[in-house]
């Protein structure tokens, strides 16, 4: 009989200590937010463009993490981002519907700008400077090319321009790839 009580007592004690330890552990090792969301978000290009159908990169990352969205909706991220997300989520890679596009940057034709500040409000990364009834301009180096400023502009004075290829950003193309030929063609044109 005594053995029975000893067993019950020792097990309850053990359960109690484990419970306390677990409680402490949850307090100390508490994870803020969902780590998988953060990880996906870190892979996304942060253009906040909404081309994936979600209002920004974080919402898309959340949707992918909750398996509400496919991994292939990030168009600016391209194939590389899709593969990285698929790898992280452990799902089969899916082809991206739209092909890769050249990196773009927005440009305001200042003489036509009426200074309405609507584009400033729409820019997700605060890359437009200006004040009411003053010309607005885009900080080209901070523009992600998301095109969100085009739609609100009442006078259509914003153009999307192809980002110029900078010498310091130039990288060797893959040997024998199409781009290598393109580069060669450009050289020939330069020669002409």
């Amino acid at each position: 009989m005594q053995n029975l009580f000893t067993a019950m007592l020792s097990f309850s004690l053990f359960a109690l200590i484990s419970g306390i330890l677990l409680a402490i552990a949850t307090r100390f090792f508490k994870v803020e937010g969902d780590p998988i969301v953060e990880k996906i978000d870190a892979l996304l290009p942060q253009t906040q463009c909404g081309q994936c159908g979600f209002p920004g990169c974080k919402p898309y990352a959340t949707a992918v993490a909750e398996e509400r969205a496919e991994v292939n909706h990030c168009i600016p991220g391209g194939e590389r981002t899709m593969l990285a997300i698929a790898d992280l989520m452990g799902v089969e890679p899916k082809e991206i519907e739209e092909g890769p596009t050249a990196p773009m940057v927005a440009f305001i034709r200042e003489d036509e700008c009426i200074g309405c500040t609507l584009c400033i409000k729409s820019c997700p990364v605060d890359a437009i400077v200006g004040a009411p009834k003053q010309y607005h301009t885009i900080i080209a180096k901070d523009c992600t090319g998301c095109t969100l400023c085009l739609e609100p502009c009442p006078v259509d004075c914003i153009d999307m321009l192809i980002k110029p290829e900078l010498l310091e950003h130039w990288a060797w193309p893959l040997p024998g790839s199409n781009r290598a030929e393109l580069g060669h063609e450009r050289k020939e044109q330069h020669h002409a």
């Binding site: 978000d41 996304l44 290009p45 942060q46 253009t47 906040q48 920004g56 990169c57 590389r80 820019c123 997700p124 990364v125 605060d126 890359a127 901070d142 992600t144 290829e165 010498l167 950003h169 130039w170 990288a171 060797w172 193309p173 893959l174 040997p175 024998g176 580069g183 060669h184 450009r186 050289k187 020939e188 330069h190 020669h191």
Partner: protein, 503 residues
Amino acid sequence: MLKSLRSLFQPKVTGIYPEKHKLTATAAIAEAPLSSHYILPLKQHIGEICTPLVRVGDRVLKGQKIAKSQGYLSAAIHAPTSGIITKIGEHAITHPSGLSMESIFIEADGNDQWDTTLATLQDWKQLEPSILRERVRLSGIAGLGGAVFPTFIKLLQDKNHPIESVILNGAECEPYLTNDHRLMVEHSEEIVLGLQMILHMVKANTAIIAIEDNKPDAIACFQRIITAQELHHIEVKSLPSSYPQGSEKQLIEFLTKKQVPAGKLPLHIGLICQNVGTTKAIHDAILWGKPLIERVVTVSGDAMPNPGNMRVRLGTPIDQLLAWHGLENMDGCHLIHGGPMMGERLGHAHAPVVKATNAVLAFLPQTMMAAHKEESPCIRCGDCSQVCPASLTPNLLADLCRQDQFEKVADYHLFDCIECGCCSYVCPSHIPLVHYFRYGKGQLATIKREKAFADESRQRSSAKEARIQREKEAKEAAAAKRKQARAATAPVTPPTQPTEGQS
């Protein structure tokens, strides 16, 4: 038997022995005539681009500083002759992309008048190293061996890493190139003096002049001077003429049996390495007050009618330089900027001579076609690993680069690759291995840059969200406060505002 056993314990033989083709080894350095115009790209070194100090229409003197360094890692640019600035704008440069760069255009006035404001430092032995180093910085000197790293940075003294020895790099291992060879033969005295200045600047005690054994005349020149002047702390060492003997880390390993750790500089093991051309430039800048406005260029190749070595002003258009050597019509010729192993192909000859231009080579189409073969699959022969001077496994690395597996290339030490081209040279399958490594390095840099931009964008976007949230809360708080104030004041003054009080 004994021999083969001994070979097991000897260090691994790396590198290759390509045909040397030193056509111009006995051709004395010719002085270039004055060109009608000069084009100076604003970045001719590793580091940050310079900002122009002159405007269109300005008159400049020979040796006058026309662009100043911006930031620390940079080297100033000086006018190669006296004349008028005609344009500041984009111009083709010797870059594999074919992109252009902001450049300063000078039209020579023919007087070639020196700017005499830069004093000569005849008493350099008494001067503080910092003064001499400042002179090297002001003179825009960058490593003339090909890497064009700003020289004054290499001459800095670091308390934690005292320099024990200076290595003068006279190993000109690329085929065809003879500019350093001729410089050593014709200007050995200036070079030895320059070496003593470097020793003074870095407070080092000993120096090694390293020259390959295929340049016995240069070795003899230095030995004569050292015995005549009793410079016992300087030693001339002869090296086997393999390729890439002139590569800094490989040269150090051969001479001292010490390896420079990956990602570290020779400075960290108490050594510095200077090219002979750079040493001559240091001498000229200190003793004669002459900034870096010219360099020796080898003009060679089987399509060149009169190959030779020439002292050329920086900014001379390459087509002009080729014309001086009898090559007027470049149709069908393949031009290479630099040596045949590491140089870049030039699509055209409009680009100017820059600080990095050690050679301009012209080859007949049939020579190039014979060298260019279709890539076939890797047969795992291992020749590339055998010759790699950095002890890498080029075939595995190339596979990773081809398949875009960039997260793994760091494990195979892609960034230790010096792009010497030995692997591509020996590959029986004609795989352009170095091209794959350049692709890999470029993609990694792009990924890193895009990641940094994404992080910055994320910060900006969350900052904006936070600001909107803050503004919203402030508005709500203000509204609540007004409401409260109204509620507090309402019962006290009902007669003044009866309508509002009632509601």
